[in-house]
């Protein structure tokens, strides 16, 4: 059996100059599922929580405590919606990628190639870079709002001394490396997991791939946690008051 592993997401069809890839399709589907699920839950929200509502409330409480505990009361409350969405979206995209049909159902695209219809959203670097950019842009905005424009610029020259000129590029590279490490970590984990499962499926098709799917569930959760915790950590660092 031939193993087909593609590093880039495969295009399904074209809208103007933009190719719509299968990873984009799954991220849209995950987003839609989350929005519809939240709307349904919102309509049926009750004071006495049922079992499902209890789980959701527990999750929200967990994220809320994480934000407020790390970034403080004022900033923490502001970032709960953003990082909560990161967490839920990454988790659902990762776990959704384990459903049957991902990578197996194929379709003939506009170029005439046979390509998979679904691909886990986070196994495309574009998705994760987009999220990392949003996260780091939020860090910059919150840093400016917490310290003012001058304080924000001064932050790049800390500690102020004759070395500051050299320190500026170091700080700049540090900010950029945050984007790279956030995005490549998530992409690498999910892509490597996919590849590993495929390879295991080819080597030993019976029972063994199931264990790796279980491992993937764990990794999917851990990676969603790490992305969220690191985003909160960067925001907390950028908004903390010096003394």
């Amino acid at each position: 059996m031939e193993i087909e592993i593609s590093l880039a997401a495969e295009p399904l069809f074209q809208i103007g100059p933009v190719a719509f890839t299968n990873a984009m399709l799954t991220s849209v589907l995950v987003g839609l599922a989350l929005v519809i699920g939240s709307l349904v839950l919102y309509r049926r929200w009750s004071l006495v929580p049922g079992r499902f509502q209890g789980v959701v409330e527990m999750g929200i409480g967990f994220i809320y405590n994480l934000c407020v505990g790390t970034a403080g009361e004022k900033v923490g409350r502001r970032i709960v919606p953003l990082v909560g969405t990161f967490f839920v979206f990454i988790l659902m995209a990762n776990w959704g990628g384990l459903l049957p049909g991902y990578g197996v159902l194929t379709i003939r695209n506009f170029e005439g190639h046979q390509v998979p219809l679904f691909r886990p959203a986070n196994s495309d670097l574009n998705t994760t870079v987009a999220m990392a950019l949003i996260s780091i842009a939020t860090v910059q905005v919150l840093s400016i709002s917490a310290r003012g424009v001058l304080g924000y610029i001064k932050e790049f020259f800390e500690p102020i001394s004759f070395m500051s000129v050299i320190l500026f590029p170091v700080h700049l590279i540090g900010e950029i490396s945050h984007i790279i490490s956030l995005s490549v970590r998530l992409f690498g984990n999910i892509f490597a997991g996919e590849t590993l499962t495929i390879v295991m499926y080819v080597l030993i098709p019976l029972l063994v791939p199931t264990m790796f799917l279980g491992l993937e569930m764990l990794f999917g959760f851990i990676q969603a946690m790490i992305f969220t915790v690191l985003s909160i950590g960067y925001i907390a660092l950028a908004t903390a008051k010096h003394d």
Partner: protein, 80 residues
């Protein structure tokens, strides 16, 4: 057997993985051993310690994943 460019690239891919997983393996081992020590000293804090340990292990593991990505790119994209 002849030494070819493709062969060298595949060798580099294998070496990337071997050397690149060296550090993270030590790191994860240290994290887990320290966490177990901490749980032994302070069993009530098991939950918090476990969560932090898994986070740290995930961060260390990411370094191995970077190496894996480079290896995959070398083997599939550059090596063909």
């Amino acid at each position: 057997m002849q030494i070819t460019d493709v062969g060298l690239i595949k060798l580099a891919a294998g070496l990337t993985m071997a050397l690149g997983s060296f550090g993270p393996a030590i790191g994860i081992g240290m994290a887990v051993s320290k966490a177990m020590e901490a749980i032994g000293r302070n069993p009530e804090a098991e939950g918090a310690i476990r969560t932090t340990m898994i986070l740290g292990a995930g961060l260390a593991e990411a370094v191995a994943i970077y190496a894996l990505l480079i290896a995959i790119i070398l083997a599939l994209v550059v090596g063909g």
